[in-house]
Amino acid sequence: MASELTLSVNGAKQVVSIAPDTPLLYVLRNELKLSGPRFGCGIAQCGACSVLVDGAEVRSCVAPVSSVVGKQVTTIEGLPEVWATQKGLSATDAAKTLHPVQQAWIDEQVPQCGYCQSGMIIVAVELLSKNPNPTVEQIKDAYTNKPPSPHLCRCGTYAAMIDAVQRAAKVIQT
């Protein structure tokens, strides 16, 4: 049965009327029209649906929407604002500035088909928030060994992702 839930998504309060066991992914995509997170496997095995919940990566395809009530949910659509807030950018600057991870993904031309890359960007943001200067091995570890599963890219853009994480790390540290 539907319940009225109040969520905080990309810095804004959202009230949705929804069955509490609905996975967060369906709420983000169909109720809030945020198409950044994507349906890949539905069983937390690929990472295409990843979002940040209070700064930690969560697979939104299996996380019930009720589990994020009272927490901050961030999708790739909300990353520029996270960065602007972090850096105290003016409204004018904020409007034309992407999060350094997103900008690095463009500068390094990471996406091929790009379908998995929303989740990949989320992992990079989480990693750099904890470890501002990760080694290649630490980057590989973050994308491969963290539960519940490795983040999978079928196009095979892993090398480009490593380049982009290192590029973003330099920007974030300056």
Partner: protein, 771 residues
């Protein structure tokens, strides 16, 4: 191929007409005409007008340029490459060009998206014809002969005067008709793939092309235009299409590939009040206005649905045995000289025979098939999807619904990389969506689950190849004879149509020779390839449907040839690179072999190496090499691996990959494609296998169909050679194929045991090393 060839070019010429003055927005529009030539006039039927509305290229008054092509971005960079190629011929900046791709009602040409070389050849000519027309207009306007005009960034200059393209068309509309051949894709029982016209239109004639040595934009790393939208969430993917009144559907598939429906389970209306079940023969779906309700309701419906039993597959562990036992008909294709090859093998000092094999593998995109269809009461149909052959898909859908082509529109949007599974326009969720929309009278979105996709999409079939070579007394190869056996790989029939018992295309069973011969100094060869129907083809749902996958055919056949060459080199005690150089005079190949060997710091030494061993708990290392000639490109791959004999774990530590693909269009994008292709190739060599029991595919999650992770990726070193005098090659595809024989050769170098099969899983490796 369905291309009409002409004996004369004298009647193939463009025509430029001025339609008159317009109040707003002058434009030069480029569309096509079908030249009537006496020899083949009857074959050149223009498409119906309603399927050929779109102009190909438009030069607009505001100096913007619109280019439309039915070919699409498939993740390799086409959207950047096309703009670069067009910019050269038009002498404009690539940024001035807006590319519209894939929509059948907005693009004129059709064609498969993998075919960049044919697509680029077309658009180069379209642009070159347009350039000549623009020069003609400028010549009149400036009163300067064409020969005295130059163009930079869309500004025509000559005689001390200049004018922008936009001003040439100001307040006027010009129509440029350029000559083409071909016809829209349609289901055709006489076509080998069941659908004709998949190549799209072909531009005729030979307009003057800019010499590659004068290029300004090709050769630079122009960014892919879609990237910002992909990293910010602003792009609309095919999974994002949402229409008013749309229903979400989840499919209830049979438990096996051949089961038929006995009875359908009921929806629990108390819990899922707006969900409904729709059935057509063996097609069963649960639909709801709410996606999560459809997802939730489908579980109980599936549990309550009864199907017949079916067990028509051999089980994946018996695949090779089954292929061996099959009564093969005559070869689908043969190449070479039977008598000379037999004689050379008979008189050889020694012969080497081997058999290589690979199981079924999957395209396995990260995003499963998804589509939206709207079948309206007025008889019009729009399908939104991510096929890499929109016109081909239109043909399948129109045929399935028994509607004329012009009633069906396919809109293309980006989605997860497909790697060839939609090249023939079929497969996918679009059929399900169109059938369900027709039945419910509402727009329907069908999202396959990962399990649906890994079980019900077509696979790249398993295969076996027998191959042998003869060596003379000096250790040179005198002949190679091969026989390749595989189930067919062109079954693009729409899954929904098959299950619902609706009209399908009828692709013909067979296979083809995919190799391009690299060894001109091997004087004799005979290649036979044999095709057979799908495994379990006599089932209601036609069993294991086979489709082409990245570097199709050649990826498989090159593994056999290159492995045999490596075994021959080892037999005669010659370094495998030196051995290859002994058997070719192709200068491009020789150059890329030397450049790649140098980058890998290859020094000759015994092969397998003196420290090779097949036991022990410590890793043993090895290296291996292979080459490939494909689509005007020469490839070389060198693998360095570590094998732990006791555990069977193989790690590819480094891969050096070199390519000469003619003129390099976009070095960075090529580098990305080479590196990522290596990831797919290593994945295929070490991990990938579709498993099935006697009724169904069982590798239906990522924990069962394993692909390479980031931590398993080798260090990849890239070598690129660009040439101005060889045209364009195909740089984005073959990188996966160039990995396989290098990795198995490296395994031999490390252990002294030559693997005859991939993937090199721990279970296979430990068994192999103990045997």
């Amino acid at each position: 191929m369905n291309v009409t060839r002409y004996s004369s070019s004298s009647t193939i010429s463009p025509t430029l007409t001025r339609r008159g003055f317009v109040k707003l927005g002058g434009v030069l529009m480029v569309s096509f005409t079908f030249p009537r030539l006496s020899a083949h006039a009857a074959e050149v039927q223009p498409p119906t007008s309603s399927t050929a509305l779109a102009s190909w290229l438009e030069i607009r008054q505001d100096n913007t340029i619109i280019v439309r092509t039915g070919r699409t971005e498939i993740g390799t960079g086409m959207s950047a490459f096309y703009a670069q190629v067009i910019a050269e011929e038009l002498s404009v900046q690539p940024e001035a060009i807006t590319l519209i791709m894939g929509d059948t009602d907005k693009t004129p040409d059709g064609g498969y998206s993998a075919g960049f070389r044919t697509g680029a050849a077309n658009l180069r000519k379209v642009s070159a014809y347009t350039y000549q027309a623009l020069l003609g207009l400028a010549s009149k306007k400036l009163r300067v002969p064409v020969s005295a005009l130059t163009v930079t960034d869309g500004v025509v200059s000559g005689g001390g005067k200049s004018i922008r393209y936009g001003e040439l068309v100001k307040d006027q509309q010009f129509d440029l008709k350029i000559p083409v051949s071909g016809e829209p894709a349609k289901v055709d029982p006489d076509s080998p793939n069941g659908v004709s016209g998949l190549d799209g239109l072909v531009v005729l004639g030979d307009p003057p092309l800019k010499p590659m040595s004068q290029y300004k934009f090709v050769g630079k790393s122009h960014p892919m235009p879609g990237t910002p939208g992909k990293v910010t969430g602003k792009i609309q993917w095919s999974c994002d299409v949402s229409l008013p009144g749309m229903l979400h559907a989840r499919m209830v598939r049979p438990p096996t590939l051949g089961a038929t429906l006995i009875s359908v389970g009921a929806v629990d209306k108390a819990h899922f009040p707006t969900a409904q079940v729709v059935t057509k023969k063996n097609l069963v779906a649960v639909l709801s206005p709410n996606e999560w309700e459809a997802v939730s309701a489908v579980r109980s419906v599936a549990a309550g649905t009864k199907w017949t039993d079916w067990a028509g597959l051999p089980g994946s562990e018996n695949l090779t045995k089954t292929l061996r036992a099959y009564k093969w008909d005559k070869p689908s294709e043969s190449r070479g000289n039977t008598a000379d090859t037999a004689a050379a093998l008979k008189s050889a000092s020694r012969t080497i025979s081997a058999t290589y094999e690979q199981p079924y593998i999957k395209h396995a995109p990260i995003g499963p098939f998804v589509a939206v269809a709207d079948v309206r009461s007025d008889g019009s149909v729009t399908v939104w999807g991510h096929s890499s052959n929109s016109q081909g898909l239109r043909a399948h859908i129109a045929h399935m619904l028994s509607m004329p082509l012009e009633k069906v529109v396919v809109r293309w949007l980006e989605h997860a990389g497909q790697f060839g599974r939609t090249t023939f326009g079929g497969d996918g969720a679009e059929g399900d969506a169109a059938i369900l929309s027709q039945m419910t009278g509402k727009p329907v979105r069908v999202q396959w689950t990962l399990q649906d996709d890994l079980a019900w999409s077509a696979s790249s079939p398993g295969w076996v190849e027998d191959i042998k070579c003869g060596l003379d007394s000096s250790g040179r190869v005198t002949a190679i004879q091969s026989a390749f056996y595989s189930p067919t790989s062109n079954d693009a029939r729409i899954v929904g149509a098959i299950l619902a018992g609706m009209p399908c295309s009828h692709p013909k069973t067979g296979y083809w020779i995919a190799t391009e011969w690299a060894y001109d100094k091997i004087p004799n060869r005979l290649e036979d390839v044999y095709g057979m129907p799908n495994l379990g083809a006599d089932s209601a749902t036609v069993g294991m449907r086979g489709l082409i996958m990245r570097t199709p055919g050649q990826r498989q056949q090159n593994l056999a040839i290159e492995s045999l060459i490596n075994e021959a080199a080892a037999t005669v005690g010659v370094d495998p690179i030196a051995f290859r150089l002994q058997h070719t005079t192709d200068e491009r190949l020789i150059d890329i072999i030397h450049a790649t060997a140098k980058a890998a710091e290859w020094e000759p030494r015994p092969f397998p190496h003196t420290g090779a061993r097949r036991t022990g708990s410590e890793p043993v290392t090895g290296r291996g090499v292979n080459i490939m000639v494909r689509e005007n490109s020469c490839w070389m791959g060198i693998a360095e691996i570590a094998v732990t004999p006791d555990t069977g774990v193989v790690q590819v530590t480094k891969f050096t990959i070199g390519v000469d693909c003619g003129k390099i269009i976009n070095p960075r994008q090529l580098e990305r494609c080479m590196k990522s292709g290596v990831v797919m190739g290593v994945s295929e060599a070490l991990k990938e296998e579709v498993t099935f029991d006697t009724g169904k595919i069982t590798s239906t999650t990522w924990s069962r169909y394993k692909i390479l992770t980031m931590a398993e990726m080798p260090e990849v070193k890239i070598v690129q050679l660009s040439r101005d005098d060889k045209g364009y090659g195909m740089g984005s595809e073959a990188a996966n194929g160039i990995c396989l024989p290098a990795i198995t050769a490296a395994f031999f170098d490390a252990t002294g045991v030559y693997p005859k099969r991939i993937p090199l899983t721990p279970a296979y490796v430990t068994a192999l090393l103990k045997s």
